[in-house]
Symmetry: C2
Subunit: 310 residues, 2 copies
């Protein structure tokens, strides 16, 4: 008696669409067993983070499968950048309402692209039936004691960001048909939404340099508030110094650009603090100061503070 | 300007219902940052596995929150047992349709109970809105090179299981009102369904002893088929030697008991192979042989081969 393996069952689907994505220097045992086995280097610690994306909440229902896959992995990977971790591996818990071959093929393309871009082999996962949801868990490594956290900012430190803000929110508006303008600007913004680039190299470079670090997922002011709270300090953001892309400015008026830059979220840019006088990291922008006290002060009024799920 | 922290938002919910579950010997940095930091011992490798449970698929819609939480963590933890890993930590990606205080309080009870029972602190998570889904990722550690896998069984090995089979499937039938009998038997079976006990101590003891190991989640014959395929061998299961509990026998006829024991699934008992003549591990039962060839042979006919999601 042979237990059957009908085509289309979960094992066949996993073998067909999720195999051979598990190659990596740290992978001792990849997919296909009860668990994967990963090797860290001596004196390294494990960094772990999980991010969920739900259709209709974190991406529009019209999103393509490869877009969804890439963006979910990028968003999760950004947390490794914020911790200063080198990428080790990821797992994916994928819930989908039906096993559609065309959908899964395209999903794999985006997944494979992110795995390659971020050096993050897929070493485990689970495929279940239900509303389309991706739970991506990322694992990285830092030399013992060298992980970045949100909690080390001190009065006197300067506040920095690693890139332009507001593009992802504007990109989503373009995707939803709520914003339009020159094609080249539209394309630039939608690419920022679909294919954010976690600042992994910068995160590693900031080890031992930055006093605190966080990635911008909820929106600049909301995330700076997290950093300030964790560090027990006050943060002052100079709205005029927050970098905005030319594409964002081409498609919006000044007020909307500022709202998105301060509160749009999902740019997956790093926000970090450096001691006063520290050299400027390449491509980064000083946007404010850390002072004694608590909370976030910004010299501009904005109405939206970042996305809340409940 | 202070970003608001309205009661009921995701951060407040996480602080209220998911805090202080992150204490453990391996936890360097727990919840509340972009990621957690975990320390392994020297010469240890990381074991990682992820399991998703969806309402209506993996548990009935009538399931209580604490039951759901405990069972989801136990099921995921069983994969660590199957790899011979000591538990290190877990993360939880929880999707739920509404933030109900009563529900979350009860959910925390079951979660905390599992965390304590399995020494698996919760070091990260994500809370999103959608259909009730739990993606539990567990992390463990093994001495380098000592992790168990499915792939080492050899012709001549004996096939073992670590406990009675079929109870969880019968317990679910009791929960669904499809099976009844003496209350003490019902209670025993439903407890096996709601609170499976991953064989963590046995898994660690089998390091360097068992040639292959898997946990019974899909059903004995289906999981033995996985083991046989990964090892490139044939497995022969003696149906009459598969242990059945007195509670299962009290509530079912012989044929039904056998069906559930061979194919019911979700018992989270270990199935493993030992070289011929190896001493019997405490509380374990020999149920068959490994021979040259492929597939699974069983000297009884059953109709169901384990749950398939697609």
């Amino acid at each position: 008696m042979q237990p059957p393996e009908p085509p289309g069952d979960e094992f066949a689907l996993i073998a067909r669409f999720f195999s051979e994505l598990d190659q990596g220097a740290s992978v001792v045992l990849g997919n296909g067993d009860d668990g994967a086995i990963l090797a860290l280097a001596d004196h390294e610690q494990l960094v772990v983070s999980v991010d969920t994306m739900v259709q209709g909440v974190h991406f529009p229902v019209t999103a393509g499968p490869s877009q969804i896959a890439y963006r979910a992995v990028a968003a999760a990977t950004s947390d490794l950048a914020a911790m200063g971790a080198r990428p080790v591996a990821m797992t994916l818990a994928l819930t989908l309402s039906e096993a559609n071959e065309h959908w899964l093929k395209d999903f794999r393309l985006g997944l494979a692209s992110a795995i390659e871009d971020f050096s993050l082999p897929l070493v485990g996962g689970d495929l279940t039936r239900g509303d389309l949801t991706l739970a991506v868990q990322v694992m990285g490594a830092v030399p013992a004691g060298m992980g970045l956290s949100r909690s080390g900012a001190r009065a006197g430190d300067e506040l920095w960001v690693s890139g332009c803000l507001g593009d992802a929110a504007a990109g989503l508006a373009v995707v939803l048909g709520e914003l339009s303008g020159p094609q080249v600007s539209q394309d630039s913004l939608t690419k920022k939404f679909w294919r954010p680039q976690p600042a992994l190299a910068l995160g590693e470079a900031l080890r031992g340099q930055a006093t605190a670090c966080i990635d911008i997922s909820d929106g600049l002011l909301a995330d700076v508030a997290h950093l300030a709270r964790a560090s027990g300090v006050r943060a002052e953001v100079a709205a005029g110094r927050v970098p905005q892309s030319s594409a964002l400015r081409a498609l919006t008026d000044e007020a909307q650009a500022l709202r998105w830059a301060l509160a749009g979220g999902e740019d997956y840019v790093l926000c970090f603090t450096l001691p006063p006088g520290a050299p400027a990291p390449d491509g980064c922008f000083p946007i404010g100061q850390i002072t004694a006290g608590e909370g976030v002060y910004c010299d501009a009024e904005v109405e939206v503070y970042g996305y809340r799920h409940f």
